[in-house]
Symmetry: C2
Subunit: 335 residues, 2 copies
Amino acid sequence: MRDVARRAGVSQPLVSLVIAENPTTRVADATRERILQAARELGYRPNVVARALVRGRSFAIGVIIPDLRNPFFADVVIGAERVAADRGYAVLFCDAMEGSVERHIDALRTRQIDGIIIDALGAASLADGTLADLNVVLIDEPSAALHGVASDAEAAGRLAAEHLLGLGHRHFGFLGPASDVWAFRMRERGFVQALRRAGFTLASSDLRRAPPTVEGGRAAMKPLLRRSPAPTALFCANDLMAIGALKACADAGVSVPAAMSIVGCDDIEPARLLTPELTTVAVPARELGARAARLLLQLLDGLPVRPAKVLPVQLMARGTSGPAPDARPAAAALA
Amino acid sequence: MRDVARRAGVSQPLVSLVIAENPTTRVADATRERILQAARELGYRPNVVARALVRGRSFAIGVIIPDLRNPFFADVVIGAERVAADRGYAVLFCDAMEGSVERHIDALRTRQIDGIIIDALGAASLADGTLADLNVVLIDEPSAALHGVASDAEAAGRLAAEHLLGLGHRHFGFLGPASDVWAFRMRERGFVQALRRAGFTLASSDLRRAPPTVEGGRAAMKPLLRRSPAPTALFCANDLMAIGALKACADAGVSVPAAMSIVGCDDIEPARLLTPELTTVAVPARELGARAARLLLQLLDGLPVRPAKVLPVQLMARGTSGPAPDARPAAAALA
DNA sequence: TTGTAAGCGTTATCAT
DNA sequence: ATGATAACGCTTACAA
């Protein structure tokens, strides 16, 4: 910057004024041109680190997710990154796979990060003060104290239930993780409550806990298939588990959807690649990420933020759900 | 830091010495203890930004990949992030989906990034000087000028060819992108050359170009199915395309592997979720990312780096490949 | 409209 | 072993 100043024959701070495009200060057009010209000639690039030091802001945000291998989170990250990059913010990516959320937050703090997006990590259960003085936007984890964006997780469960009820099913199962992640809990609740309203209850042994992964779903599904009467309709807390359940059915020779209907949640790409294609509830992952980023940047700019609206979810009826095997012929014919 | 110094009754630079754990300087044990104690009491956290400014290093690396939606790249990122986080480095994530590599590199430069990992982006074709004075590690893009780690892409193609030849196939197809990404080109070359050595050539119309995505594979496969004689064996530049090809076969009523054998490349998770499971060549994505990060950090530490060895790939014979339909009965029986 | 001076939180180089 | 002092590249009053 000093070199640019010298070349343009002005003082260094004046260059700063021009480069920073600070709208409040007025610089003579001729001077501005001269400075920009010099900067161009010298190939000058502002040093964001120095800027961060003096402004106390790093123009970087952190994104913490549980597991990038889940395409859902990959989409969240993509959505956030696009928005951030557009606005000149860098995205520090943190995969908390090893349950190292606190450590990651610590590291981000140290880097004077301007804000953090946290998805599906049970932020409520973080050690007290972990998030203190931090600009945080939670995804799918409504909180009284913190900002956030969320999908309509309860509706996801309800839609799944209504879909399966409509197909004539009367014996249901649910697969979900034991975690305290809001979205998972709400999906479960929406499912269970919609069933209850329709007069069905879920025996606790028809509700199985396992990690929200393909392997988890597969393992949890096995005992369910041995129950008698076995459920004929299954809702899973996410698509990965649903895919695992589908695998378990294939292993056990249970045909889907003839003998077992399966509904997932998220609508990740692999859901459409299976045969049959997975019936699921679409959750707008990319949009969640993008909105979270926009909200966070608004916060950083000190702009007033209106509470984000809940993003709708949508049932995608595909190949893994069909009429209940014991449904009246009429119902079967309808489907 | 000043506060810590005051509390410990020492000068501020001395605190710096202790905090930075600089091994070359010796500080009295008592003083050190006093300083660490004061730091703890005050909840002092070093400011990485300030450190970056004065040291000219940001302790952050950039990771640029073409598309996080491809689980292969998600794995690369995970591998790199783990290593980086372990060593106190932050990972600035850049998804170059829109072909904005240069812009991303620019942004990283501005942040005094210490180094960059670039995967599958045809770094060779970047504008001159884009990478100048930058510590770069290329993944799957061997270069005389730059460091890199790579998988044995040519072997991937060869293994696919040998597998299909062994199954008695005699009419082959290939699906790949038109890009100049090294790994894709080498996979193709390995495939074509192995076939040639066995006395088979690939008609140019049996070699189709499309984006390396599921949709790309699906679209490219369609015309191939209409050829007569249609190939009975197909190798795809990556799993996504192979999955698309599989879809196209399903759409067209071509049974896999009875009428068509398909081999992918990468071994991403969805490959094992399909029915039938995808035969593919496993490429160690996570390990590539991890090694790239380790190599980059070595570079940054000024350590001598030995040229990275090429990571082996492995054929995963699964359900989408089988004996050629016109193979001798004996061969069919063997399978 | 422009220049001067101070300072952001560190590290590094010297004396002491 | 410890302490002054000067950077690092930039922003931001305030003075001219």
